[in-house]
Symmetry: C3
Subunit: 129 residues, 3 copies
């Protein structure tokens, strides 16, 4: 599963990068911790990071479920779609939150395929071992 | 471990469902991204989702720790209690946050058993390999 | 990998402990759910817990990536540095958020080594199997 492991590492590095952008926006717009509100652009960066956290809790187990019961290369390719979709999501969200839809879809779709595909694979193995 | 894998997939689908409810509440109560406050009912849905994220970061590794060193079927059964407890938590929290206690307990209890049970199992294997 | 599994269990127990401190601060400063703002000290406890969640999503997969391709004992030791750093982070953040830097660094450094080290190990195995 090295392909899946590389995608996992890249997804985490992307998340850390979004975290850096939150930290940088803190300085730029003068939002002192522990506050997480007070400037619209800061809040966009913060929500991109938080929403990516919500995505990762599904994508990472999904990658391993799918590659355990299905094809690890397809799992890694779906992870690649997620990585690109997240980048689109982050850029469009910060520009205009109302336009975050397509990028969100490009991360949601691979995530749901990984989770549901993995779950169905596990159920199949229980029924027809 | 297909039982544990199925529970993991179900817990993630439940989390995604809570996310949909947040999105739906955004539209219903007119809370535009990146805001996460401004309407009490929206905030309840949002906190249900966020608290479920906080639970999943413990429950998912806990399921695998417990099933590695203990009984995978008991791990999956504890995961089943978590799934039901979370559903109770979500419904009661949105109705009245002050009544979220029992549902919370039903998700906290299996989580802590999975984590502590798994950790003790790992320590036992180190001491008596 | 029992060493890594023990570190994972300890990191989750530490996170649960931070969650208890948030709950306790809710009572002490009268912040009723679903609110997450309204008192500076409550918000510090809340941000410590939330930031730990953001760290765990990286540290836990990182521990397993690093121990799969590298030395599990080094992975566990890096996890130990994370555990101590997080404790320093929590204590200093609640006292004075402006002084959270060193504790943050002590959790960020092992996290990034685990993730990047694991990712490079996976890439090496693909190139020179």
């Amino acid at each position: 599963m090295p392909y899946v492991d590389i995608v996992t590492a890249l997804a985490l590095i992307q998340f850390i990068f979004f975290g850096f952008q939150v930290g940088s926006a803190r300085g730029k717009y003068g939002i002192k911790a522990p506050a997480t509100t007070g400037n619209e652009v800061f809040e966009r960066h913060f929500r991109v990071q938080q929403n990516t956290l919500e995505a990762l809790i599904g994508v990472i187990p999904g990658l391993y479920l799918f590659s355990r019961y299905g094809n690890p290369l397809i799992a890694a390719a779906l992870g690649g779609v997620y990585l690109i979709g997240r980048q689109v999501y982050a850029v469009t969200y910060v520009k205009d939150p109302a336009k975050r839809g397509p990028g969100y879809g490009l991360t949601f779709l691979p995530m749901i395929i990984l989770i549901v595909g993995g779950g169905i694979g596990a159920a199949r193995q229980l029924i027809w071992p």
